[in-house]
């Protein structure tokens, strides 16, 4: 039987009538002329005209045939052999439910609708082998197709039907459905899904062309939905917390809703109005009664209730520990203590009023070899680098490699310090001298900030004076780095390195060519000191937020301490549902993916066409469900015929032109 993959193109065959109609309209309009006398006119034109008419007719036929073939080519003809009664064929009929269990199916009344559909369909196909595959992120064969499974499916639908909090991915489920239905002669797939476009847009699996696919428009998404997208907390001064709740309206009409936020025993409420397809923010200020508090935001429920609640952590981010190592040698201890004084002052400014991200402690350099560095994130070597043993340097290098941050200021012998650092593989920068040790070269300043460094972002070129206005009396002259992992962050006015950054695996080491005492520079006395140090430290630990926000289904992160031990969650994590957890000191939030809140729906016709287009991506041929008699594709023959017709038309045209020219 001749069938067409795209029969809609056959409608264009009506266009063939156009030249014929034109001919019929014009045939009676032959020109006549009443002439005074026709005695001198000959009838010689008539036979020639007849030949011309015949040629025109032939040409018309060729062109009409050409047009017909073109349309047939577009319609993709195929020959489907009639299924002969086969002794081996069992004539089995297989029905498979493909149940979307993604979170978007948690809309009000969806469960009852699905139960009703399953019951109705089971009655209609009582003599078919029935099976059921559920899918959210992963497919799950709940019942394999069999005659026995029918009753079990009904029972399951009434008692155990549930939906996940995960996003949907029907691709693997469709592949499994194709495999499960392949042994059957009659195949039917009933898709129980809301056809949300986010779920169905990335499907690549295709079913065999003889599979009948049914969707159920009853299961469509509701027309309105507003959702809480996320909540951010920011610690403010005077133990206050600011909560920013982001809301989104996915519908095409304005939503006026009530937003309630509960934080411990505190409760606040706001009326919010969200424009169609718009985002909006609601701000709440709460008292911060604890360092870490659980909160909950809630919109009054709509048809999609799963995205109207949002649990979150709020409070202060975890304090970062900084260890400052001071030189305990009698010659340099005083300067080192002075450096610590300025550093402590910079890191602890306004501690009383606002939350401070850093907590700083100091130890003597002789004790460093005995100290466990695992619980600190940043290490300051304040003028003591030259007094550390090679073993200690190895330990420090390991600390940096594991992700720690190291800050080094020069002491009494920066040459020795750099030599030790070179030995332990921290840097290849060479010592070239000390500038400003005599009075002649005093009075230098900083002149250049690496634009793409953390300080480049802080001290913009528009405001260079923030950093530049201080005197540099003395500094270590080092070689310009030529290694890819070494770069200059600050330069002096005479273009020599003032602050160097050496990257070592996960961590960074920062080498100041001057120390934090007024003898070396006015830097510590200037307003630039505090933001520079603070920003360097913040950059060293990366973006620090209070909690890690994850979507359901994502695996929880691993938090390792510097000693390699792994932080354990406070309770077993069920990452397929929303919830709040703590891994060590790290708060974790699990939320529903906002993609599932969207109301955009895929067109069922397109989905059907796409699913049965006969492409079996990523599935072995043997495994793939194919019809018993695959149709013979005739488009190649049509194309050949079309090419022949084009050739024939060309020949006919050339011949006619030549004859006309002769006449």
């Amino acid at each position: 039987m001749l069938t067409f993959a795209y029969p809609a193109f056959l409608g264009a065959l009506f266009a063939l009538a156009v030249p014929i109609i034109l001919h019929l309209l014009n045939r009676n309009h032959s020109q006549t002329l009443v002439f005074p006398s026709i005695q001198f006119l000959q009838k010689t034109a008539l036979p020639r005209e007849g030949r011309r008419k015949l040629r025109d007719l032939l040409l018309l036929l060729i062109r009409m045939l050409l047009f017909t073939l073109l349309i047939l080519l577009l319609a993709r003809p195929q020959w489907q052999k009639k299924e002969a009664p086969n002794a081996t064929s069992s004539g089995r009929k297989g029905l498979l439910f493909l149940l979307d269990q993604s979170v978007s199916m948690r809309t009000a009344g969806q469960r009852a609708r699905i139960q009703k559909i399953i019951t109705e369909q089971m009655k209609a196909y009582s003599d078919w082998d029935c099976g059921l595959i559920g899918f959210s992120q992963e497919p799950k064969i709940i019942f394999r197709p069999s005659q026995k499974a029918s009753q079990q499916i009904l029972k399951w639908a009434n008692n155990d039907l549930s939906f996940s909090f995960l996003t949907g991915d029907p691709d693997s489920a469709l592949k499994q459905a194709a495999v499960l239905l392949s042994p059957y002669d009659k195949k039917r797939l009933l898709v129980l899904s809301d056809c949300q476009s986010n779920t169905w847009k990335n499907i690549s699996a295709a079913l065999s062309v003889d599979t009948e696919i049914s969707f159920f428009p009853k299961l469509a998404l509701p027309p309105h939905n507003a959702a809480i997208i996320q909540v951010h907390s920011t610690p403010l001064n005077h133990k206050k917390l600011r909560l920013t709740v982001e809301l989104q309206n996915f519908g095409d009409s304005e939503e006026n809703r009530t937003l309630s936020v509960r934080l411990g025993s505190q409760h606040q409420q706001q009326h919010v109005s969200i424009g169609p397809q718009k985002n909006t923010f609601a701000i709440f200020i709460f008292d911060q009664k604890d360092i870490l508090i659980q909160g909950n935001a809630k919109l009054d429920l709509d048809a999609m209730p799963f995205d109207d609640q949002y649990s979150f952590w709020c409070g202060n981010p975890i304090q970062q520990k900084i260890l400052a190592v001071l030189d305990d040698s009698p010659k340099n201890s005083q300067a080192s203590a002075l450096e610590f004084f300025f550093l402590q002052k910079a890191m602890n400014t306004k501690t009383a009023k606002s939350y401070n991200l850093f907590s700083i402690q100091s130890i003597d350099s002789s004790l460093l070899s005995a100290i466990n560095l695992d619980d600190c994130q940043q290490l300051f070597l304040l003028g003591c680098a030259e007094h550390l043993s090679p073993d200690t340097w190895q330990k420090i290098t390991a600390f940096v490699k594991q992700g720690g941050s190291l800050f080094i200021t020069p002491g009494s012998s920066p040459q020795t310090a750099l030599h030790l650092m070179q030995q332990c593989g921290l840097t290849k920068t060479r010592f070239l001298g000390i500038i400003g040790s005599d009075s002649k070269q005093a009075g230098l300043g900083l002149g250049w900030v690496q634009p793409d460094s953390c300080l480049g972002r802080l001290f913009t070129p528009q405001h260079p004076s923030d950093l530049f206005l201080f005197a540099l009396h003395k500094y270590v002259h080092v070689s310009t780095p030529n290694q890819p992992n070494e770069k200059i962050i600050l330069k002096t006015l005479d273009q020599r390195p003032a602050l160097l950054q050496w990257t070592l695996e996960k961590g960074n080491a920062y080498f100041f060519t001057f120390n934090f005492t007024p003898q070396w520079s006015d830097f510590v006395l200037s307003q630039s000191f505090l933001p520079t140090i603070n920003e360097l430290c913040r950059c060293a630990i990366g973006e620090q937020t209070l909690s890690k926000k994850l979507y359901c289904g994502q695996t929880p992160p691993h938090y390792e301490q510097l000693n390699g031990t792994q932080d354990q969650p406070d309770r077993p994590i069920n990452y397929s549902e929303p919830g709040l957890y703590q891994i060590g000191a790290h708060p974790i939030e699990y939320h529903i993916d906002p993609k599932e809140s969207h109301l955009e729906v895929s067109k069922i016709d397109n989905l059907k066409r796409f699913l049965t287009r006969g492409i079996n991506k990523g599935l072995p041929q043997a495994e793939y469900a194919s019809p018993a008699n695959p149709p013979i594709k005739l488009w190649k023959w049509t194309a050949i015929l079309l090419a022949l017709m084009v050739l024939l038309e060309g020949i006919a045209m050339t011949t006619m032109d030549r004859k006309d020219t002769k006449h």
């Binding site: 032959s30 020109q31 006549t32 002329l33 009443v34 002439f35 005074p36 006398s37 026709i38 005695q39 001198f40 006119l41 000959q42 009838k43 010689t44 034109a45 008539l46 020639r48 005209e49 006449h663």
Partner: protein, 301 residues
Amino acid sequence: MPDLSIQELLSPELLLKISDYSLLSRLAVKGFLSGIHPSTCHGSGNEFVQYRNYTPGDDLKLLDWKLLARRNKLCTKIFAEETNMRCAIVLDASASMAYKGKNAIGTKFHYASAVAACLASLCHQQIDQAGLFIYADKILSATPPGHNAGNISHILATLQNVSPSNKANHLLALQKIGEYLKKRSLVVLLTDGYFQEKTLPYFLKQLKFSGHDCIVCQILDPDELHFPFQNTMQFIDSETSESRTATASLTRDEYLKKMNAFLEKTRQICLNYQADYLQINTSQSIAPVLTSYLNMRGGKH
């Protein structure tokens, strides 16, 4: 071009242009009014012709007294008498004369009517007797040459009332017209000239033997002369209603060849019988055609 009526063709400007000319008869005509044409009678004219011997009974005032005194011989002076002319305009009103091509001023019949009206007017102006005969398959209208005041008005009214139709029966019509003209006349034949082979020679021969002066005006449309058609068309003969389908571009050369031969043959017949032949193209203005012909014929005042 729009089809113009006789009134439009026969404009005052045209009449003014041809009024400077006169239609002269080349042969002596026998009129009874004095006019500008040579008469077959000698007598009271102004132009001296010859002497002849006096015979008793001759008018003594014609006796040349000076010659009698010189030679003592009685001689009478003979003068050529100048008289008026009878002009018969014969107009073909067959269906073929109704044709008008794209480039023509009017139908051939309208054009011929305008020419006839001009000539009649000219005759009236020079006190000649103008008559009009219109024929197709029979004589449709016959106005014999006369000199009464209403003759010209009657001719013009007749021209306006007749329309071309039917197949021409030239032989019969021309025989009858020949019978009408008993006295020597100027016969102006206005036709498209699709005669049967021996009609025109027979007619011209008859006129010549009767002593008539004859002008044959063959009025043709530019389409007949140049055959400018391109497509395949069905041509229907206006008189016989016979149809013939032909591709104009293919048959043009043959047509023009035959047409030119026909025109040449017509001209040759006219020459043989000492008749003037004038071929008129209906795309041309009437005034220059007529004035050039009259000028050539020597009738400029």
